[in-house]
Symmetry: D2
C-alpha cells in the first residue's frame, strides 16, 4: 500500500504546524486534594513539516496520546512530545489539552459544599527545549468602581472571566492559580450559596470594586509576587450588565527579561 504522505514534495514550502484538532478524549490530571481527577480533554497536537515531505502521519498523534492519556501532567506531556517528535521525525512538537477542572468549594458563611468548574489548558512545545504553559479560566464577580462612585446606591456588576497563563520554574498547583485569580476579584463564585452567603458576597463585591483594568493589575501583582512564576499573561473579559458587549483587558510579562 503506497505511503503517499512520504512522497517527496517539490513545492519547496515548509509548514509550521500540521496535525490534529478537536479530538476529545478522557484524561486524568493531578488534583491537590484527591491525588488525581478524571476529566475530558479537547486535544490539539502538531509538528513542523519540512519542505521535502508531502504530509505527516496523522494517526500517530492519536496512537501516542491514547497510550499516555492516564496521566496528563507536566512530565508526561514532555514524554508525549518526545515520542511524537521521534515517530514523526519532527524538529518540533506541540500540544494543547483543554479540560474542565473541578474544585470543591465551601460557601463563605453557610459552608455549603459544591463543585466549581474551571476551564484549564496545558500547552507544551518541544524543540531543543521544552516549554510549558498552564492556563486557568476563573469566573468571578466584577463590580464597576465608576458606577459605584457616581450612583446614589448600588453599582453595576457582572460575571467576569479571568484567564491567567503562567510559565514557572517550580511546580505550581492549578488550585493556587485559581485562588490567586479569585482573590483579585470583587468577589469569587460558588455553584451553591445560601442567603447568608449571598448577602456576604453582594456586600464584599460592593466593598471591592474592580474595573477590568484593576482586575488585570491585581492578578498581575499577585503573579509578580510568586517567585516560581517566571512569565504570565492575564486576560479579563467582563460580561457587562449595562452593555450587550464586553469590557476587555490584557497584559503579559516575562520576568526573565
Amino acid at each position: 500500500m503506497d505511503d503517499i504522505q512520504c512522497e517527496k514534495d517539490e513545492r519547496n514550502i515548509s509548514i509550521d504546524r500540521v496535525g490534529i484538532k478537536g479530538l476529545t478524549y478522557p484524561v486524568t490530571v493531578l488534583d491537590r486534594v484527591n491525588g488525581t481527577q478524571h476529566s475530558v480533554g479537547k486535544i490539539e497536537m502538531y509538528v513542523d513539516l519540512p519542505r521535502h515531505y508531502r504530509a505527516t502521519h496523522m494517526s500517530r498523534f492519536v496512537e501516542v496520546f491514547h497510550e499516555y492519556r492516564d496521566e496528563i501532567t507536566f512530565p508526561h506531556i514532555k514524554g508525549i512530545l518526545k515520542a511524537i517528535k521521534r515517530k514523526l521525525s519532527a524538529e518540533r512538537a506541540e500540544m494543547k489539552v483543554y479540560f474542565p477542572y473541578f474544585v470543591e468549594k465551601s460557601a463563605p458563611i453557610s459552608r455549603a459544599k459544591s463543585m466549581m468548574k474551571y476551564d484549564c489548558t496545558f500547552q507544551g512545545t518541544l524543540d531543543s527545549v521544552f516549554d510549558f504553559v498552564i492556563t486557568v479560566n476563573v469566573p468571578v464577580t466584577a463590580l464597576c468602581p465608576c458606577s459605584k462612585a457616581i450612583s446614589k446606591y448600588s453599582a453595576h456588576n457582572q460575571r467576569s472571566m479571568v484567564s491567567l497563563s503562567v510559565r514557572f520554574d517550580k511546580f505550581v498547583w492549578i488550585e493556587d492559580l485559581i485562588t490567586l485569580c479569585e482573590e483579585s476579584a470583587s468577589a469569587d463564585l460558588y455553584s451553591l450559596i445560601k442567603r447568608p452567603d449571598e448577602k456576604f458576597l453582594t456586600e464584599k463585591a460592593y466593598e471591592n470594586p474592580r474595573f477590568a483594568e484593576d482586575l488585570a493589575r491585581e492578578v498581575a501583582s499577585r503573579a509578580e509576587a510568586r517567585p516560581e512564576i517566571v512569565w504570565y499573561a492575564v486576560e479579563i473579559e467582563n460580561i457587562e450588565s449595562i452593555h450587550a458587549h464586553n469590557a476587555y483587558a490584557f497584559l503579559k510579562k516575562d520576568k526573565r527579561k
Copy 2:
C-alpha cells in the same frame, strides 16, 4: 442523468422534515424608521417527505430563497413556502430565518446615539394554514430582589437575555416587541452611554429589582395587554454575576384557548 431522489422508497417510513440548515444569506427586512434594513440571515428550510419518495431536491430550497431574499417579510415568507410546497410536491413547508436587527437608541440622559443589536427569528409553516411566529432576543439588566433585600448595600445584577415569541392577528413591529421586553427589565441596555447615563441606569436597576421569574411575568403581563398578540412564549436567561451558571424561566400562553 438519473434522478435518484425520485426513486421509489420501499421502507415505508415518512419523514417529518427534510431540508437545509445553516445557509447564510443577505436579507432585507422591514424597519419602522427607515423602511427597510439590510441584515444577514441564517436560514433553515424544510418539507415533509412522504413514505414513497426516497429523497427531496435540496437545491430547490436555495433557488426559491435566492429569488425572494430582498424582502423577508410576513407575506413574502408565505410566498416562499407556497413556492416550496409546489416545487417539492410537499404537504407542509417550514422555514426559519435568524437575523440580527439593529435599532438606533439614544442614551437616557446624554441622548448619545448608538445602534443596539437584537437577534430575531421569523418562523413560518404552511400546510393547510399559514402559521407565523416572530421571536426577539433582548439583552437587559436584571437586578436580584433577594440580594437587594438582604444586603446592607448594593445587589448583584447581570446581563440577562429576554426572548419573546409571538403569534399575532394584526401586524406588530419588531420595535414594539423590543420595547415591551425592555420596559419589563430592571434596566435596558445601550451600546454607548456616558457617565450621567451610567448613574441613571445603575440607580434605575436598583429601583426595579427583578428575578428571572419577575421578568418572565412582566413580559407576559405586557403581552397579555396587547390585543394583537394572540399567543406568546417568554424565556429568560440571567448570566448570574454570583454564579458560573444561569438562572432560567419560561412560560407560554395561547390566548385563543
Copy 3:
C-alpha cells in the same frame, strides 16, 4: 433574613419552568464494559412555579444534584426529581444532563484501539408519572447516492451527525444505541485508523451510499425492530462537503399509538 422568593405574587401568572442552566459538574454514568465511567455533565434543572409564589429557591437544585452526582442513572434521576419536587413543593420537575460518553473501539482491519466520544443526553421529567429519554449523538460518514450515480468516479461524502432519542420499557445500553446508529451509516468513525482501515472504510462508504433521508430511515427501521424501544426520534445533519450549509432530516415515532 427575608425570604423574598416566598412572597405572594399578585400577577396571577404561573410559570412553566424555572431553574438553572449551564451548570457543569463531574458525573458518573454506567458503562457496559467497565461498570461505571467518569464524565463531565452540563446540567439543566427546572420546576413549575404556581401563580401565587414569587420565585423558586435556585440553590436547592444544586444541593440535590451535588448529593447524587456519583450515579447519574435512570433510577437516580428519578430520585433527584422526587427530591426536587419535595424540596421545592413543585408539581413537576425536569432535568437534562448533557455529557460526553467514551467507547473504546478497534479499527476494522488493524484492530488499533482508540476512544470515540459520543455526546449523550439524559432527560427526565417527573409529574404524576416519570418520563425518561436518552439521546445519543453519533458522528458517521454519509456518502451521497446521487453523486455516486451520476459521476464517472467517486462521490461526495462528509461527516454527518446522527442523533437518536429513545424512550424504552426495558433497559437499553448507550452502547447499543450507538451501534444501531453506526450500522445505519455509510461508514462509522474511529479516532485512530491505519492505512488498511482507511482503504476499508473508503470502500465501505462507497458501497453504502446514504442520503440524509436514507440515514434517518435506516436508523428508524432498526429502532422499530427493537421491542424495548417504545418511542424514538431521529435527526440527521450532514456537514455537506459540496456546500457550506448542511442537509437535514428528522422523524419521530411513538410505537405506543
Copy 4:
C-alpha cells in the same frame, strides 16, 4: 461627577490592551461588483494603557465607531484608529472587524446563481506606523490523496476551511483572495448546484486530491506569486469525514525578510 477612570494608579503596571469586545454593528464594506455591500460586523477595539492611568474610557470606542460605520475600509480604519488614539491619549490603537462577505457565484455547468458567504476580518493597528491585515475564510472541498491511492474506488472527502491572511502594499480585493483559495482546493463550493454541477464537482475533486498540507502549500504558492502580497498566513482545517476530529495545517511567510 468623578472621573474614576482618570485616577492615578499606583500599582505601576501598564496594560497592553484595554477596550471592548463582542460589539455587533451594521457595517458597509467595499464590493468589487456592486461598489459597496451591507454587512454585520463583530467589533473589537483596544488601546494600550500607561501605568499611571487607572482605566480607559470605554464609551469612546463606540462613539468613534458609530461615526465611521458607513465605510469600513482600509483608509477609514486608519482614520478610526487615529481618532481613538487621540481621544484616549494612547500610544497604540487596534481594531478587528469580523464580518460575513457575500459573493454571487454561478454554478460551474448550469450557471445557476446563488450567494456564497465568506467570513472575513479586517485587523488594523496604529502606533507609529499603520499595520493592516485582511483575512478571508473560504470553505472548500478537500479530497484525500492517500484514500484515493489505496482504495479500489472513491476517496474520503470533506468540507474544509481555508483561512488566508495577508498584508499587502497595493490594494487587493477580497474577491481575489477568495478566488486564490478556491483555486487551491480539490473543488470550490456553491450554495446552489444542479445535478450536472454535482457531477462536475464530484469528478473535479477526485481529479484534484489535496491533503490539508497540500492545500496550505497551494494557497502559499499562489500568495507567493502575487507581488502585492508582502506577508501571508494560511490555515487549513478539514472537517474529516472519516474522523470526528479535524486535520490541520498552518504556515506563514514574510516576504519582506
